[in-house]
């Protein structure tokens, strides 16, 4: 690309933005201009070179949203650093020119976590994809943030170890992004989410310092800063390296598909399994809508007349898994399962998991757009929330299918719509709000693994008190005092206290609205 030509083109447009400076809100925190000058672009290009800098409108459009397609905002420039030194230089340039920036992995976030609110610089970390070290004896690996999740497990193939967090998007999502959102996945029921596997983080602070917290020996004598960092949704800095635990492969698996004629029976089985004190490696539910789409896509042999199926996996010692599988089979049948199939071969198991993990991909067969929600309820409230979702679906005339981590009570109702239809978009947002509101009412949360992003900011006041949010805002300021890093994310205050001008200077847009 010809970035300097484009820069001069942009320079003409910036006269408009420059005049906007007079409207900026003066606050206690530093003012961020969000003015991209040609000088600034030249500085960025000097760091990464023209080949790793995008600033033309057509190229930037690709980065206007992540997996949450309802809200969009185009960055002013995208850069692709290849190492931590380049990230430091980019962030320092942003600080010097008072420009906001947002880190981005693969853009698979489902809550607008890497939406460039107010524009500015997007730091795409996909070229930092080295697996720096694998230490089997000490059970850790060191990776750059752009390493695709599944590639670490692939690199470990044959060693007897794997990387346990396995989001459904693991074939595309990056470990840096996983750190930002504290990602989960089907097997986190037994093995925990990302924070349980991160022992250290190296990151570039919003002031441009390269900082390491934790490492191979954990946190040492200090605070658990890496525990705090995980899940901060890019608001604390840009991750440049991660120390992750690697986990021994279980000696044996038993993977089952339990088939039910009613959703209520299915949820009862979930409750009975957990209530019996059994913690399977995974316990996933898929309803009739999603099973139909999956069957069409993968031809697994799912029963199309079933109302729901449970994908259940137990793992551990060969001597123990059969007994666990038998107990679960009995509990399912006692709860009304029509049939419980045991996966007979490794190929069958792999296909079953492929179906589950690519479920979102199969949704394209059902509608042009979809919105995946991420509510959580106490495990025993799963029957109640599923009944509520069915009622909301009917009331708003929005088709909703369900594929989710039943064992954790982590729901993923998928609302099907056409983003070109403004009226449908409004109904989807209303339905989503009602479902997430009900999750809160039932003692749960609005996000189990996708993050707050921009999508769920309005719920933070319902989940937390004003003081809770003030304390969190103070914590953000300890890392990111002027809000330059990932503005408009996670905290409602982040979009209102000192950063409103960012949005005004560079308004985003909602799908069809």
């Amino acid at each position: 690309m010809a970035c300097f030509v484009a820069a001069h083109g942009l320079l003409d447009q910036f006269s408009v933005f420059q005049s906007a400076k007079t409207h900026m809100t003066s606050t206690a925190t530093a003012i961020i201009n969000c003015v991209i000058t040609a000088e600034f672009l030249r500085e960025l290009a000097a760091v990464v070179g023209c080949a790793r800098l995008l600033d033309s409108k057509d190229e930037l459009l690709v980065y206007e949203c992540d997996g949450y397609v309802v809200e969009k905002s185009v960055p002013d420039v995208v850069v692709f650093p290849e190492n931590a030194d380049e990230v430091v230089a980019i962030v320092r340039a942003c600080e010097k020119h008072n420009v906001p920036f947002v880190p981005r992995g693969a853009g698979t976030s489902l809550a607008g976590g890497c939406l460039p609110v107010g524009g500015g610089v997007m730091i795409a970390l996909t070229k930092m994809r080295q697996i720096v070290d694998i230490n089997l004896r000490d059970r850790y690996a060191v990776v750059e943030p752009g390493v695709v999740n599944v590639n670490l497990t692939r690199a470990l193939a044959g060693t007897g170890f794997h990387y346990a967090p396995d989001p459904s998007s693991q074939g595309a999502c990056t470990i840096g992004g996983n750190v930002a959102t504290n990602s989960g996945g089907p097997h986190t029921l037994k093995y925990g989410v990302t924070v349980n596997h991160v022992i250290g983080v190296e990151f570039v602070s919003p002031q441009g310092e390269l900082i390491q917290i934790g490492g191979p020996c954990g946190r040492g004598n200090g605070f658990d800063l890496s525990g705090l960092f995980v899940g901060s949704e890019g608001t604390f800095g840009v991750v440049t390296k991660v120390w992750v635990r690697i986990t021994r492969n279980p000696a044996a698996y038993r993977t089952m598909l339990a088939i039910f004629d009613s959703v209520d029976d299915t949820t009862q089985a979930i409750s009975n399994i957990i209530g019996a004190g059994i913690v399977p490696a995974a316990l996933e539910m898929m309803d009739r809508g999603i099973v139909g789409a999956l069957e069409e896509a993968f031809h697994f042999g799912f029963p199309l007349d079933a109302e729901a199926v449970l994908l259940i996996e137990v793992d551990g010692l060969e001597v123990a898994v059969d007994a666990e599988a038998e107990t679960i089979t009995t509990l399912c049948k006692d709860s009304g399962a029509r049939e419980v199939r045991l996966s007979q071969t490794e190929e069958e198991r792999a296909l079953l998991w492929k179906c589950r993990k690519q479920a979102f991909g199969a949704i394209g067969r059902l509608s042009p757009s979809y919105c995946t929600q991420d509510g959580v309820v106490p495990r025993t409230k799963v029957p109640e929330i599923l009944r509520f979702i069915a009622e909301v679906s009917e009331r708003h005339n929005i088709r909703i299918v369900n594929v989710f981590h039943a064992g954790d009570g982590n729901l993923h109702p998928i609302l099907l719509f056409d983003e070109r239809n403004a009226e449908q978009v409004k109904r989807v947002m209303l339905a989503s709000d009602e479902i997430l509101g009900k999750c809160i009412d039932l003692g749960g949360s609005v996000t189990g693994e996708h993050g707050i992003g921009v999508e769920k900011i309005s719920f933070m006041n319902r989940l937390f008190t004003d003081i809770d949010l003030a304390v969190m805002e103070d914590v953000r300021k300890a890392f990111n005092p002027d809000g330059r890093c990932s503005p408009g994310k996670l905290l409602p205050t982040a979009g209102a206290c000192g950063m409103e001008y960012i949005e005004k200077n560079h308004p985003g847009r909602k799908a069809a609205m």
């Binding site: 089997l136 000490d138 925990g192 191979p216 658990d224 995980v230 010692l317 003081i467 304390v471 969190m472």
Partner: protein, 384 residues
């Protein structure tokens, strides 16, 4: 601790009362103006320090057993929590050495024992907190569901903060089922090469030990038992204690595997011995208690034997959690020589050295920690 500071103990009965105490402290009003407050119940203290004792805040707030979570006030004794959970065949799998310790002190101290190898530590179990910061602000983080990423994870920040960021008043844990059966075996080694080989094999064992503890003596250890004739006349300076759990059949199968993994050693306790120590006994023995006069070294597991051997060469025995790379060295009678030796050894192998009574997270001097400390405790009311 109560005896030492009995005249200075504050015993609030509610979170709001804790908040009032701290606001008064902050505002410089009332009777607390000149004092500073410690809250973990285990802090070393100067004469000016008063302690917030939460023993009146000892209730179960919510225990939906079928959801496998529990919310309790932090003044509850851990032994009481253990008893309540056992009634539902559940557990918080964290080993405490002081049965009277409170839930708040457990979390603030990030207490962890032998089973951290298999179960992890408190950062893996705390899913929600309520706390009061140094300005008297009552704040919450996390929630009561097992999976929740809404807001910053202040739960992890509070775990192990030793009361320097706030007074924990309520904690929500996720729980584990109690195992059906467990077994503990001890293997002893007469040379460090065989000991290290076994640790390497155990790292990839077909068994899944939940604890993997070691002892590494500086000189000849206790005499071998006479009922184990194979050991007579030999010295065994190194030992491994290995615990497994599951069904009885799974435990027995794992013990067989462990025998293969520890082929270079001698099994110390016969399988059929009723005297064999239990996992429970081992996890509550005092030998691995960092809060006494021990120095703790954290290194990577592959460096453990080298570190232990260098310590032994300077006359110091060590023990600890081999699977986690954690060693404890006794600091007898205020021995001032041992810490510099530990630091010198660790400087070559990597890791950290700490003493409970000396090292404190609030003493961290990096900018982030200082700013966080200032955020939560701007008036330095919490003792460190």
């Amino acid at each position: 601790m109560n005896d030492v500071y009995s005249e200075q103990v504050l015993m609030p009965a509610s979170t709001e009362e804790v908040s009032r105490l701290l606001r008064a402290e902050t505002a410089g009003e009332g009777q607390f103006t000149t004092s500073r407050v410690s809250c973990s119940g285990r802090e070393s203290s100067s004469a000016a320090v008063r302690r917030v004792d939460l023993q009146k805040m000892n209730s179960v707030v919510d225990y939906p057993a079928r959801d496998m979570t529990v919310t309790v006030q932090s003044g509850m004794a851990v032994s009481e929590l253990t008893r309540i959970l056992a009634e539902e065949k559940q557990q918080l799998p964290i080993d405490e050495f002081d049965r009277s310790i409170s839930v708040g002190a457990l979390v603030a101290g990030d207490i962890a024992g032998p089973r951290q190898y298999g179960y992890g530590t408190l950062r893996d179990y705390v899913i929600g907190i309520e706390a009061v910061d140094g300005q008297g602000r009552i704040f919450h983080a996390g929630g009561r569901v097992v999976k929740n990423v809404a807001g910053y994870d202040l739960c992890r920040l509070m775990v192990g903060s030793r009361g320097s960021l706030g007074v924990l008043t309520q904690v929500t844990f996720k729980l584990k089922p109690l195992p059906e059966y467990s077994m503990l075996r001890c293997f002893r080694f007469d040379g460090s090469a065989a000991f290290e080989d076994s640790l390497g094999r155990l790292n990839v064992s077909a068994a899944s030990p939940l604890l993997l503890d070691f002892e590494f003596a500086s000189e000849a250890p206790v005499q071998p038992q006479v009922d184990n004739p194979g050991t007579v006349g030999r010295h065994f300076p190194h030992a491994l204690h290995i615990g497994v759990e599951g069904t009885k059949a799974a435990c027995l199968w794992q013990i067989e595997e462990l025998r293969n993994d520890c082929a270079g050693g001698e099994q110390f306790d016969p399988d059929d011995s009723t005297a064999a120590a239990s996992v429970n006994q081992h996890c509550h023995s005092a030998g691995y208690n960092w809060q006494d006069d021990s120095i703790r070294i954290r290194t990577i597991p592959s460096s453990l034997v080298a570190v232990a051997a260098e310590l032994a060469a300077t006359g110091y025995s060590s023990q600890g959690h081999a699977g986690n790379g954690i060693l404890f060295v006794k600091k007898e009678n205020g021995d001032g020589r041992v810490r510099p030796i530990c630091e010198e050894i660790v400087s070559r192998h990597g890791g950290s050295v700490s003493e409970w009574s000396v090292d404190h997270p609030a003493k961290s001097t990096d900018g982030l920690s200082v700013r966080l400390r200032s955020t939560f405790d701007p008036h330095s009311v919490f003792a460190t």
